[in-house]
């Protein structure tokens, strides 16, 4: 099967990065097309950028007759669009199955009825709608609507919430065309199609379905849930979930998009969403009426049915001074819109961490904070302040991780809500506060809806960006000088573009011309390279990281011959919902010119990154040793290996580890075996460190030596421990220094413990880690996968293996 990748072309439509084929790119460059609509000469571009009612840009870019007519009548003249639509909505890819949008189009090939929603405009085309040629169009359209009505049985049941427009679109069109169901000329269909009430939220009545395909596109194209499809053929075709499972038993996540898309109520809301908030929230809070939300400034432009359907997905909560709104480390599925009061953002003081003060070689490296694992915490303490990114429009200083938010900051908790990460900080009411707590559906809609998106972006630009740039370690050289930093922010602010990338979408591909520089605002970006020998994930970049600089830096005179050739050296794609800050390449280079310290720093980093790439690749060899591969050993960068022929199980290694880490061991002398070697349960420094993904405070990082290091800003959420496939990250309880009343004895105060993630730190870069050093039998060593394999080979050759 052919590959389309060579034709991929990234284009920013609105704020959505979309992928266009080569053909569409060529079309984008064409001039406008002249045609006539109902006798008026008009001009429209061949390719359009469209938004759905929720403000999301859609990559489908051909200008259709319907688009042109809509622009001509509705936008330019504020008149009603004479073309009825049923299977089509402007935010969907047209499929032209219902045929009610027929218009008469005259081209060189003659004059004929054509579906306006799908037919592209052509130069010289003469379009007649029912305004100028009713005789050619209306009888056909009326007959089609009559056909649909003859088989249509309105959905049964009470309190059914209808789709997007809140009305039965089929009946509305019929009324507009003057069709009376009782006078329908066609034999009435019997309502013998099934009805599916298996979902608690949405009822499916196939007798009301007209197979317009809107729910299917909603499910697949818009929400990317890939559950709904059509089944069967011809007159017996109908919609189906998965392998025609009942909706409630299918993989449907009940996002409601199908219901919102349905024009006839075949898919309708059975009840309102009410069970998603935990009961304790619902007892203390009041659901906000959809009517009230409709007048709320943040909710402008969101459809009424959507708000009605999600009527219990927004609650107003009040908090007294000192009450906690959300707590770091907890999982949640909601975000918060601030209405009143001031809010304190804090993470527990990092000083109580179990980590030892960094010393020796490591701190030397950290001065440059370079390499793959570059993350906020790598910024040196001396000089500037270190900042920790959290899931709110503020950044926390490392020394004093507290900040204040106000209603003008609008929203916090987005990342937890969208990507299911744990809360990154504890938010406490500083005075009596009011918030709107919203569930994922609603946040998703706010991010798609044009009005609220603008508000959110404006806040971001004005306030969050400053904080964000402060957090980004790259710019820490600038933050030391307040004036220079302020100047820098002022320069960068107008040029950045905020873009959003869907899970799995490619941001750029290896080999592309480098054109932009990116900073990760939220979510995770996967960096992978393809060389002979296949694809390889090189890194995961979380909030606060940057990428895309290498291709740009090669344009500088200072780097000629040392950094690449202006092409992308890796493919970057989104791992989850990713928000990026994008800076045009020219502007980026201009800024570097103005800030030489930044430039030299970046060049250092880039060289280091390239060197690391080479090193990683040189470690990789294609081996087909099943056991070796199945244990993921080829991916190990540095693991503790015990030769079981020598090991006497004395456990000196474990003791040594505990001794050097405040009495808590970070290795367990047990684990997988490969030939005569035991791979101890201890961090392997994977080349593909999945543990990094999802850390809410970017506390877990990879250092330039490739080791995994957990910083003081760890809030103990356990995400990394959950991610590690080998169980090498442990959650350790440590005293927090706080006390709380004993629940069983009110007179007594108990010490509160908190959790920190710990993993082997290779004893912070000393030449021989204590475990290896301590082994009295020379059984322990630290090696990478390649070396281990080589050992086993040599032993094999010498006939000394198992």
């Amino acid at each position: 099967m052919p590959s389309f990748e060579s034709d991929d072309y990234q284009e920013l439509i609105g704020d959505q990065l979309v992928t266009l084929g080569k053909k569409k790119r060529d079309m984008l460059q064409e001039g406008p097309i002249e045609l006539t609509i109902d006798g008026s000469k008009v001009k429209f571009p061949r390719v359009k950028t469209i938004y759905d009612p929720d403000g999301r840009a859609i990559p489908e870019g051909w200008t259709t007759i319907y688009d042109a007519v809509q622009q001509h009548y509705v936008v330019e003249r504020n008149e009603k669009n004479p073309i009825p639509i049923l299977c089509h909505r402007e935010h969907m890819t047209p499929v032209a199955v219902c045929r009610v949008c027929m218009v008469n189009a005259k081209t060189q090939r003659g004059s004929k009825l054509t579906p306006a929603c799908r037919r592209r405009i052509e130069p010289g085309m003469e379009v007649q709608t029912s305004r100028t040629n009713p005789d050619a169009i209306l009888p056909t359209v009326k007959t089609i609507v009559e056909l649909l009505l003859s088989d249509y049985h309105p959905p049964r049941g009470e309190n059914l919430a209808f789709g997007e427009s809140g009305e039965n679109e089929l009946e509305t069109i019929a009324r507009d065309l003057g069709i009376v169901q009782s006078k329908n000329r066609f034999p009435r269909g019997t309502p013998n199609r099934p009805r599916d009430d298996s979902s608690l939220l949405i009822s499916v009545d196939h007798n009301a379905c007209i197979l317009c395909d809107r729910c299917i596109r909603g499910c697949n194209d818009i929400r990317k849930n890939f559950v709904l499809g059509r089944m069967g053929k011809g007159y017996n075709a109908r919609i189906a979930f998965d392998l025609d499972e009942p909706m409630g038993g299918s993989s449907c996540v009940t996002c409601g998009e199908c219901m919102v898309s349905c024009p006839t109520g075949a898919l309708s809301g059975r009840a309102v969403v009410g069970d998603s908030f935990p009961p304790e929230v619902l007892t203390s809070a009041r659901a906000v009426d959809p009517e009230e939300l409709a007048s709320h400034p943040m909710f402008q432009g969101i459809s009424q049915p959507f708000l009605r359907w999600n009527r219990k997905a927004v609650v107003r909560r009040t908090f007294k001074k000192g009450e906690v709104i959300c707590r770091e480390g907890e999982y949640g599925s909601s975000a918060f819109i601030m209405e009143e009061g001031r809010f304190e953002v804090r993470i527990k003081s990092p000083l109580k961490s179990v980590a030892k003060q960094q010393s020796g070689i490591f701190s030397l490296f950290s001065r440059f904070a370079v390499g793959f694992g570059e993350k906020p915490g790598d910024v040196p303490a001396e000089g500037g302040d270190k900042f920790i990114p959290v899931d709110a429009p503020v950044a926390l200083a490392h020394g004093r991780p507290v900040a204040i938010m106000e209603p003008k900051d609008i929203l916090f908790g987005e990342m937890t809500c969208m990507n299911h990460y744990p809360r990154s900080a504890t938010i406490t009411a500083m005075e009596d506060c009011t918030v709107l707590e919203i569930l994922r559906n609603v946040l998703y809609m706010l991010q798609r809806n044009e009005v609220s998106k603008k508000t959110l972006d404006a806040v971001y630009r004005e306030r969050t960006l400053d904080n964000y740039l402060r957090v980004a370690p790259l710019f820490s050289v600038l933050t030391q000088d307040t004036k220079e930093f302020a100047k820098f922010v002022a320069e960068i602010r107008p040029c950045v573009k905020l873009i959003r990338v869907h899970p799995g979408q490619v941001i750029f591909r290896q080999g592309d011309q480098a054109d932009h520089f990116y900073l990760v605002r939220s979510g995770f970006v996967k960096v992978s390279q393809n060389r002979q020998g296949g694809d390889r994930v090189m890194n995961y970049l979380g909030p606060g990281s940057y990428f895309g600089e290498i291709g740009l830096l090669s344009r500088l005179a200072a780097t000629v011959g040392t950094i690449g050739s202006g092409l992308r050296t890796a493919t970057c794609s989104a791992l989850d919902h990713v928000d990026l800050v994008r800076l045009p390449g020219d502007k980026f280079l201009e800024l570097l010119g103005l800030h030489p310290s930044l430039q030299s720093r970046l060049i250092e980093v880039a060289k280091e990154r390239l060197r690391r790439d080479e090193e990683q690749w040189s470690k990789i060899r294609n081996e087909s040793l099943g056991n070796f591969l199945s244990q993921g050993l080829e991916n190990a960068g540095n693991m503790l290996v015990l030769d079981l022929e020598r090991c006497t199980r004395c456990d000196e290694c474990t003791k040594a580890c505990a001794d050097s880490h405040n009495g808590v061991t970070r290795l367990i002398r047990e684990g997988l075996r490969f030939d005569r070697f035991l791979i101890a349960t201890s961090c392997r420094s994977c080349l593909d460190p999945v543990c990094l993904v999802g850390c809410p405070t970017a506390a877990i990082q990879r250092t330039e030596s490739g080791d995994i290091n957990i910083k003081d800003s760890c809030i103990g959420c356990g995400k990394c421990a959950e991610n590690c496939p080998y169980g090498n990250i442990n959650m350790v309880a440590v005293p927090s220094g706080e006390k709380a009343p004993d629940p069983y004895n009110a007179d007594r105060m108990l010490a509160v413990v908190e959790y920190k993630a710990t993993t082997c730190d290779k004893c912070n870069g000393v030449e021989t880690p204590s475990c290896v050093f301590a082994c009295p039998h020379e059984a322990a060593s630290r090696v990478d996968g390649k070396e281990l394999l080589e050992w086993v080979r040599q032993l094999n050759a010498a006939g000394k293996t198992k």
Binding site: M1, P2, F4, G21, K23, A96, V97, C98, R99, M102, K112, L113, P115, R118, R119, R120, P139, T140, T143, I144, L147, L148, S150, D151, R185, F186, P187, I210, L211, N220, F226, V227, L228, G229, R230, M231, G232, K233, G234, Y235, N236, A237, A240, F241, D242, L243, D244, S251
Partner: protein
Amino acid sequence: MIVQELHKIQRECGYLPAERLKKLSEQIRQPLHRLHEVASYFPHFHLQPPAFAEVKVCCDMACHLSGGDRVRKHLEGVAEQIGGQKVNVKRTSCLGRCDGPPAVSINDHVYWNMSDEELETIVRSAAAQQPLVEQTIGTLAPHWQIDPYNGQGHYEAIRRWADAWNADANPDRDIKRMQLGDAILKTLKEGNLRGMGGAGRPTHEKWTNARKAREDVSYVVCNGDESEPGTFKDRDLMAFAPHLLLEGILVAGLVSGAKQGYIFIRHEYQEQIAAMQIEIDLARSRGLCGENILGTGISFPVEVFVSPGGYICGEESALLEAMEDRRAEPREKPPLLELDGLFGKPTIVNNVETLCWVPAFLAKGGGWYRDQGTHGATGLRFVSISGHVAKPGVYEVPFGQTVRELIFDLAGGMSGGRKLKAIATSGPSGGFLPAVLDLTQVSPRFADRLKKRGIVSADAVRLDILDLTLDWDLFQRDCLLGAGFVVYGDDADMLVEALNCVEFYRNESCGKCVPCRVGTQKMVEMIQDLLDGKRHDDLATLHDLAKVMSNASICSLGKIAADPLVSALRYFPQDLTKHAKGL
């Protein structure tokens, strides 16, 4: 990928178990509904374990005339006798054996020309899970003018191309291809080779368009999904002259610079699938097909793609959809497939016969072909004749032949001493023409052309249909001329036959667009009403519906689905009134 994988699972398990679909979904990383959409759409796939004997009886046109319904009822009785749900009998659409009606498919083996008793024996052995005999159409190749090689695969056109290519030292392959292609296109244009699937679009035009599209990847697809009732000429061409088809595709591939050729064949043509496969393997072993054709460095592999079933797959854009692993639902046109076809790439889609003619064109010249017509028409074609004639079958005939010559000279006259009542010139698609055509009932343009050609006299008001010459230039858009010629004797009730045809379209509608999906069903119900003596005062609604289906449907299936009814109402009012009286 999906279609082939489903074929594989079905071969293994006899049907598509849900667990296997779930596993497949994980393997190929496609959502479940994508697999189910495809699996539930094509009639070839079973989602439930099939009976020991899956019996499908064709009841379209010729099979309907010769008692398909009766055979079905008989076999249903047999099934009941056997019991235990071992036998499942149902109606199916045309199996392409209209010359031996009624055709019956038993566990995907197709049988024809069989007595009820013979069929019953086969059904019983299938129910007892015994192996079934294979019925073949024979191996004796007829002497056809289409075959310049007399049954042997000489591939002279390919050899000539290769010689010229290798002799030319010009390093620019594109220029070489254009130069060599120009000569071939000129020959096709000179003889005016047109699409023999029925649409009659000039072949050189399609090829030229595809060649101009100049994309890095393009395809040639041969449409061998011949599923129109009454049409079975491609069946014989593929069985007897696979070398012509393969050479035709190879030439199309060389001229257009395509990367890959496919032959899409309906799954009921097992014999033809095997013949093409053997021919492709043979040609590959002789270096004529595949990598580096005859040392030219040009690669053009050809593959057979077995259709998962359905008449709609014969609609060229639906065919491509099926090849792209989707429900075979026709695309909106434009864009033309030559510019935006398979996987969005330029694609030449040609009928089997069209491609089969290419070697003869290149061997004997376009002028030779053009001179083959008769009664003022040009060229040769293949026609399949069925229905109430003595010798139904496939015939190579000149364009312009009269209906009389076709029925009486070739097909041995009417069967069973019947008188001619009606003909269908393109299976069910063009509707029916009566034995005597009232010229006031046809379009004035058509009547004029008949007069100009001297087929009727200038003052004639009627045409004896036997005098009609079968020629695209005469028919133009007023009448459809396809390869399925079906003859109805005077005992046929044309309203019943119209219902039979509209039922076929209803059964084969893909269900994508409303006018066709709902329209064909309503039309079937309304014709049944007419046969029951009801609704005779409301023919206007039927005519309105027919018009809307023709105006607003996406593809030709919906556009022409009402034609059999409209023609029956127009030309055979007596067959309508007799039902009105309740006779």
